[in-house]
């Protein structure tokens, strides 16, 4: 055994060792840079590759619609209808969830999770829009036509989000770029400045968008020039520009080859109905519209998903013989209690696509024009437009000789009935016409003037020191 002691002094081992050693150092020193550079994962596409062809660039935009429709009761998928309706006088609440009760009682807190989600949804879409606009603003391999169309849609979406933001929250920060290090310190702008931006976006969108539905092969699931026009009409109405409201709504109404009122009320919310100006295609499995899923009652409102039923006062305000009551309202009887629910959408769950989610439709354009005309004291035209809607509902015409005030009251009532449980129209109407105090304070014991504006989410107040809170919160 002793004999094996010092056999290690072998020259060849030393050389091998030195070589190995050198190899490590060499590989370490020179290949490391490359080694730690990894390709983008297969589940992600680097930005530079997104805007290189028409199909991918389009996917970047339609991704926004997909997210809008896939968000559970989100900003563009039922939240405005449900919570706007609760804030106003459309729904009765049966939920015991604090977040929902706060809407029903107009006792919102800045930390309300629903508020936080709605707000964040909107700005998420705006971020995507801004990124798309920035990427498409310089020439690329994307064809000119597609660029125009996508940029038009992007501007439309930005205007659309800003429209609801400004109406629900009042002054808002105006985000027009994707630069987070600028956006994180924005402060809120006056409502008029926001409206100016919305009008600018929509006017530009009108120029860029096609006048037909070819972008989606005839389906009405992508906004076109008339969607921009319809929203512009509404924007002018909300901002008190009656003349322009008339111009824009007339432009839509005059497109009779594209848009007409459905004579059958049960067809209004079906896919690509002739009345629809812009609809969204449901994407979530087993769901059609979130409204249908939330509102349709089978076993009483407490056990339902949305935990709301229509306010009996709304039911009472339908005139006798109103076809809309028969077609758009459902009744559920559970343990002897009758509850009414919106039945504009008739599918609660089921394979998506039976119904489309209607965002803009023609009958609102008539109501917009009617109101603008009434505001300009053109009662005759106003009543004429109003009667078009009434006729479709099987109601007798109103007299064209009513006074201005009656006419405006009739329009408010008609809007309440025609547009109930749709995109919070009632809540927005009460606010913009200054009627919320008068209508809601008798109904809601905790009503305060400041309740017309939702609180800015606490998390944003905390994370952007320049954001001021609405009064009362």
């Amino acid at each position: 055994m002793n004999s094996v002691i010092f056999h290690y002094r072998s020259g060849s081992s030393r050389i091998i060792g030195a070589m190995l050693y050198g190899t490590i150092l060499f590989s370490g020193a020179f290949s490391c840079k490359k080694f730690v550079i990894v390709d983008a994962p297969v589940t992600q596409l680097v930005s530079a590759n997104v805007f290189t062809d028409d199909v991918t660039a389009t996917a970047a935009l339609t991704g926004i619609y997909s997210n809008m429709m896939n968000t559970s009761v989100g900003f563009c998928s039922g939240a405005i209808t449900l919570y706007g309706g609760l804030s106003a006088d459309e729904f009765q609440n049966y939920s015991t969830s604090g977040n929902q009760v706060e809407f029903a009682k107009n006792a919102l807190k800045a930390e309300n999770n629903i508020i936080k989600q709605m707000w964040a949804n909107a700005y998420q879409y705006i971020y995507a829009v801004n990124t798309i606009l920035e990427n498409l603003s310089h020439p690329s391999a994307v064809s000119l036509n597609t660029r125009q169309e996508l940029m038009g849609e992007a501007k439309f979406i930005r205007a659309f989000c800003n429209f609801y933001l400004v109406n629900l929250w009042g002054q808002i920060p105006l985000v027009t770029s994707s630069a987070y290090n600028i956006n994180d310190t924005l402060s809120r702008l006056n409502v008029s400045q926001v409206y100016a931006q919305i009008i600018k976006d929509l006017t530009e969108a009108q120029q860029m968008l096609p006048a037909d539905f070819e972008a989606a092969a005839g389906e009405r699931i992508r906004p076109n020039r008339w969607a921009a026009t319809a929203l512009l009409a509404r924007t002018y109405l909300y901002s008190g520009d009656w003349a322009d409201a008339i111009v824009q709504s007339s432009a839509v109404i005059e497109q009779t080859s594209l848009f007409q009122l459905n004579s059958d009320l049960n067809q209004v919310f079906l896919p690509n109905s002739v009345e629809s100006i812009w609809q969204m295609e449901p994407v979530t499995p087993d769901k059609n519209t979130w409204e249908g899923y939330l509102f349709i009652l089978t076993n009483g409102p407490t056990a339902s998903v949305g935990q709301v039923a229509l306010n009996p006062k709304l039911i009472d305000s339908f005139e006798p013989g109103d076809l809309r009551k028969a077609n758009w309202i459902g009744a559920d009887v559970t343990i002897g209690q009758t509850s009414y629910y919106p039945l504009k959408y008739k599918v609660k769950t089921g394979t998506p696509g039976t119904e489309y989610y209607t965002v803009l439709r023609l009958s609102e354009q008539y109501l917009i024009r009617a109101e603008a005309e009434a505001r300009k004291n053109d009662i005759e035209s106003a009543v004429k437009d109003l009667n078009i809607i009434r006729q479709r509902a099987g109601l007798p015409d109103l007299s064209t000789t009513i006074d201005n005030q009656t006419c405006l009251a009739d329009i408010e009532k008609e809007r309440r009935i025609e547009l109930f449980a749709e995109w919070g129209n009632r809540w927005l109407d009460l606010k913009r016409t200054g009627r919320s105090e008068e209508v809601l304070s008798p109904l809601k014991s905790d009503w305060q003037g400041a309740d017309t504006l939702y609180p800015i989410p606490l998390i944003d107040i905390q994370n952007d020191p320049h954001l001021a809170q609405n009064p009362g919160y």
Partner: protein, 1077 residues
């Protein structure tokens, strides 16, 4: 067993055979060769006799006739007329030539060759051999051999090393010698695994705590992390959920990062292991809290767990070491005849306690009083709990929903063995754990482990190969219904109606038992393999490559059959989620080590490189439209399938590292570590950074002054270290500007969405660690004391910096100009109180006093954290409303209006005057051994503040939810002084507002300290006599308990996980048998 050519045992020449007590020697031989005599003595004593064949060659045969003599006497008689002497140590007898004490000749110079081996006959490499009182010396090579030329023939050689007793050997002109060195048995000499090597407690310049297999095996646990709770100073572990496979919080020396990655780095046999579960959060959050990856690792495969804490120990892990490192080493076979070990355990688990809640009488009283207070009438649509339900019912939902007894069964077998060149271990186990929930849920694991070790005859080439595999099926309810157990009114209806169907009570009862039909099932396969090949190129130069591969694959299903869904929700078929995830890691680490002993001390160089890649992938599918509930686990039976998320990522990591370790006479220790790291988690030009540390130790007890004056001080070491480590625990690709497919297509085309806000410019989080420690041993190390102070400063904080949502996202990855400082005292004492042959008593105590502070934060006021942190205060302060009690007139909670604007509003009126943190924590353990009995118990104590029941889950007392009994002390009429506000049921009323302000107030923070009987262990081993008759080596019967008793004033269910949302940690009691032969 190898017989050695020549054998000497230095330093222990005059050892008595006091340790020898068994049996007596009886011999009667005539003219027997000495070999035969020694063989007979070996046979009867069980001792091994070592001798030099050459020594015996010339001795003549002897006559011997002895009866019932002690070993020492027997040997003395055998050697009486021969030029031999002997010594006895442990189980070994060494026969050698009688020492020549004359030495009159003038000293000459000779060349000496030698071999050093340990008591098992294994070569002892890396032992330093020096000539006493000179600077001449060398080190033994891999075969334990050494050579010294031209030295005095009468020199005294000194043999020393990390894990041997230092011993001296007089040469006496011999040129060839074999030295047997004695392995150290002192706790100070326990081997500690460090990054890329080993050391001992004595010689370590860094701070490493080692938890042995023995400690782990005493505990009835299925996740190794559970075994570490309380054991290690500076290591904070809390169990987040008592559900099998549930998650843990692990922090080493506090929270370093404000918002990201505070997980330590886990390394199993050299292969990095994921610190967070790969489980799909969508499916698992509701039941296992996301799960914990270590639950798919079998605790019995573990040889030791080493926790690396300071810069000296962790800097070699560079960018990944900021939060400490947990090294897990698996079992390896030992030389000897094959040993078979069988283990069987069976036990029970239950929740530690229930919360005191209102019974139906009290509940109804609360509800009625609430209506009275609000001057309101119950509404039949909402208040069915008092109007519709049968108010004579009284159910304790805690007992119904989590009051069951879980069963625990575990069986394991292993075989190990080998010879000096090759060793192996093979083991397998089966583990089954049911739940405390109603229904038959279980977590089942099958595991296998192997390890092989081989070395060439000359020990220059070595290979190690090990692997472990676990296949786990965790089948649990889809949701942890613990929270519902607290809030469900006690008069809620019967669970099943008369037809045996779930009772929904006309939609008014959201029946929690529906969950029994809704399943979460996770199949996990976890493979970890590692191989190390080493070659001794030059006597002191070793080249090594270690490589590892691990793969974890997890398939999860979460089902929601129609029968589990409230009929009122309008579902027409059930739905399921199917998810599969995987992570593969490979790592390759070439290393070169050079050990050199010079006149200036023992120096050790290590250089190496790391290449690592992690590939992970995950996808989740949603399926619905099942024609029948029975098919709900079969995705093929779904009428529609859509994807609900998919991801794939690659992480690559590359590094060069070096370490220089210097040891001068085991007195002065120095350690330098450096690492250059590159990680793919950072953007271009930000991928590389350098990290390093220096550690120094001074074993002052070796100084003459202490040796001569402080005899009671057997060991004293002062050590300190300083260095930097980094943290790259952020998601992959955060720097990348990219788009991800949307979940669902639109217009027939898959949409795209921005993946994130991207920032290409962030770099590593840097943690500067400083530590000073004092290790002392008293009375021959029977008392070992360790005191340490650390200060870690983590800067360049990598965070998902919270942004206002107007930016489109809620955060962006950034480096934050903030500094978080963790300081703390760590104290550990181990005492051997009684050390008799029949009875031993050992105690251990550890205490940690931690503090986490925000030291700097430029422009905090203008940042998103302005309402979270305060510079100079604890990182754990909570900004809340300050309570001013319940108004005796209105009966409502009131709060301090800090800015005096007339209303209390968040966050303007927040004050950060309370914190949720641990003030100190530790454990006191005792171990007793009496004859064949063993008994030990550990008391864990934590002094802390925590969130109480008010923080989550409950609603304002008076509403349609049950409440803790302590809400009975509510305000009732004007003038009442109470800590609990009046009952109210009016959502949106003033009472409601006040209650939700209370949820945002300091009232949610209260004392959550506890004293817990963490572990208890009682074992009886069969006596040797009986074992021999049964032909087995060992048979131990044991009882193990965990979490058996908790003393706490915590207002909630369990002070450890501090939530009413998930199942608290359970108490476990098990009985087991261990058998080896």
């Amino acid at each position: 067993m190898n017989r050695i050519a020549a054998l000497l045992l230095a330093g222990f020449l005059h050892v008595s055979a006091a340790g020898y007590s068994q049996g007596k020697i009886t011999l009667s031989l005539k003219k027997a060769p000495l070999q035969k005599v020694f063989a007979a003595i070996e046979a009867q004593s069980g001792y091994t006799v070592w001798y030099d064949m050459a020594l015996l060659k010339n001795s003549s045969p002897i006559d011997i006739d002895i009866k019932d003599l002690g070993l020492e006497e027997a040997l003395a008689i055998a050697c009486k007329d021969l030029p031999l002497e002997f010594s006895i140590t442990d189980k070994m007898i060494v026969i050698k030539a009688k020492t020549n004490k004359a030495g009159n000749d003038p000293p000459g110079k000779i060349d000496v060759k030698g071999k050093v081996m340990n008591e098992k006959g294994e070569p002892a490499s890396g032992i330093s051999v020096t000539i006493k009182d000179s600077r001449i010396g060398t080190m033994t090579d891999a075969e334990g051999q050494f050579e010294l030329s031209n030295i005095d023939e009468s020199s005294i050689l000194v043999f020393s090393g990390a894990n041997i007793e230092t011993q001296e050997e007089r040469l006496n002109r011999r040129k060839d010698l074999v030295v047997v060195v004695k392995l150290k048995i002192n706790r100070l000499d326990d081997v500690q695994i460090i990054g890329y090597g080993t050391t001992t407690r004595k010689l370590n310049t860094g701070n490493v705590s080692t938890v042995s297999a023995e400690t782990i095996q005493k505990q009835p646990i299925s996740n190794p992390l559970a075994a570490l709770e309380g054991q290690v100073p500076g290591l904070q572990i809390s169990q987040k959920s008592g559900v099998p496979g549930g998650n843990f919080n692990v922090l080493i020396r506090g929270q370093n990062s404000i918002a990201n990655g505070n997980n330590p780095l886990y390394i199993i046999d050299g292969v990095p292991f994921t610190g967070t579960s790969i489980s799909s959060l969508l499916l698992s959050t509701g039941i296992t809290g996301g799960g914990n990856p270590l639950s798919t690792f079998n605790p019995s495969d573990i040889e030791s767990i080493d926790i690396l804490k300071d810069a000296d120990a962790t800097a070699i892990y560079g960018s990944r070491g900021a939060n400490g490192v947990i090294l897990i080493t698996t079992r390896m076979g030992k030389a000897g005849k094959p040993a078979v070990i069988l283990n069987f355990n069976t036990g029970q688990e239950k929740v530690t306690r229930f919360m005191h809640l209102l019974n139906t009488r009290e509940y109804l009283q609360m509800r009625r009083e609430a209506f009275l207070n609000d001057d309101a009438q119950p509404d039949p649509d909402v208040d069915y709990d008092i109007l519709t339900w049968d108010t004579t019912r009284n159910t304790d939902w805690q007992r119904e929903l989590f009051g069951g007894t879980a069963r625990l069964n575990n069986i394991e077998a292993s075989v190990s063995g080998g010879n000096n060149n090759s060793m192996f271990v093979l083991g397998g186990g089966f583990n089954r754990e049911t739940s405390v929930f109603p229904g038959s849920f279980a977590d089942q694991k099958i595991s296998g482990h192997f390890a092989l070790k081989h070395s060439s005859d000359n020990h220059r080439f070595k290979i190690n190969f090990s692997g472990s595999y676990v296949s786990e099926i965790n089948s649990m309810p889809a949701l942890d219904k613990t929270s519902q157990a607290f809030t469900l009114p006690p008069d809620a209806p019967v669970i099943y109606d008369s037809a045996g169907k779930l009772n929904w009570a006309g939609g008014t009862f959201n029946n929690p038992f529906a969950l029994l039909n809704s399943l979460y099932k996770a199949n996990t396969e976890n493979l970890i393999t590692n191989a190390t090949v080493s070659y001794q190129i030059l006597p002191h130069l070793q080249f090594r490559v270690s490589g590892g591969y691990s793969r974890m694959q997890m398939d999860e299903i979460q089902t929601n059959p129609l029968s589990s869904l409230n009929p009122s929700w309008g579902y027409t078929s059930g739905y399921s989620y199917f998810s599969d995830q995987s992570i593969r890691t490979w790592i390759l680490e070439p290393q070169m080590e050079y050990g050199y002993l010079s006149a200036y001390g023992h120096i050790d160089f290590l250089v190496g490189a790391t290449y690592q890649e992690n590939q992970s992938a995950a996808k989740t599918l949603y399926a619905d439209g099942f024609s029948n509930d029975h098919l709900i686990e079969d995705i093929a039976a779904a009428s529609s399938i859509s994807q609900a998320g998919a991801s794939q990522s690659t992480y690559r990591y590359q590094a060069l590292f070096a370490r220089i370790n210097y040891n001068w006479q085991e007195k002065y220790l120095l350690n330098f570590t450096g690492r250059r790291d590159g990680s793919s988690r950072f953007g271009p030009d930000k991928q590389f950074a350098n990290f390093g540390a220096i550690g120094a130790g001074w074993i002052f007890s070796k100084e003459d002054f202490f040796k001569n004056n402080l005899h009671w001080l057997s060991f004293g070491k002062l050590r300190s270290s300083y260095g930097t480590t980094g943290n790259d625990q952020i998601g992959d690709y955060q720097y990348l500007d990219s788009w991800t497919p949307t979940v669902y297509p639109y217009q027939g085309l898959s949409g795209l969405q921005p993946s994130r806000l991207f920032n290409p410019d962030y770099g590593w989080e840097v943690n500067k660690k400083w530590e000073i420690g004092l290790d002392l041993g008293f009375i021959n190390d029977r008392i070992l004391l360790s005191l340490g102070y650390y200060q870690n400063r983590s800067s360049n904080q990598l965070v998902g910096y919270p942004l206002p949502s107007i930016t489109g996202f809620s955060s962006i990855q950034q480096n934050l100009p903030a500094i978080v400082q963790n300081t703390g005292w760590e104290f550990e004492i181990n005492t051997s109180n009684v050390k008799r042959k029949e009875f031993t008593w050992v105690s251990s105590f550890n205490l940690t006093v931690p503090q986490t502070q925000l030291i700097a934060y430029p422009n905090l006021a203008g940042s998103p954290y302005s309402h979270t942190y305060v510079v100079g205060k604890s990182l754990y302060i909570k900004q809340n409303f300050a309570s001013t009690g319940v108004d005796p007139q209105t009966g409502l909670y009131t709060f301090k209006d800090v800015n005096k604007d007339g209303i209390v509003s968040s966050p303007k009126d927040y004050l950060g005057n309370k914190k949720v943190a641990q003030l100190y924590y530790g454990m006191l353990g005792n171990q007793f051994r009496f004859k064949n009995w063993q008994f030990s118990f550990d008391w864990q104590f934590v002094k802390q503040t925590g969130r109480n029941y008010l923080y989550s889950n409950f609603t304002a007392p008076g509403m349609r939810n049950n409440q803790p009994e302590l809400t009975l002390h509510r305000w009732q009429r004007p003038g009442d002084a109470s800590g609990i506000q009046k009952y109210t049921q009016d959502r949106g009323g003033a009472g409601y507002d006040a209650y939700y302000d209370a949820v945002l107030s300091e009232l949610t923070i209260s004392d959550a300290s506890f004293l817990r009987l963490r572990n208890i262990y009682l074992a009886y081993g069969l006596p040797p006599g009986l074992l021999e008759k049964m032909h087995i080596q060992k048979l131990v019967v044991c009882l193990k308990g965990q979490n058996l008793l908790t003393i706490s004033h915590y207002k909630g269910i369990d002070p450890e996980n501090q939530t009413v949302q998930s199942l608290p940690p359970l108490k476990v009691f098990s009985a087991g048998i261990q058998l080896s032969f």
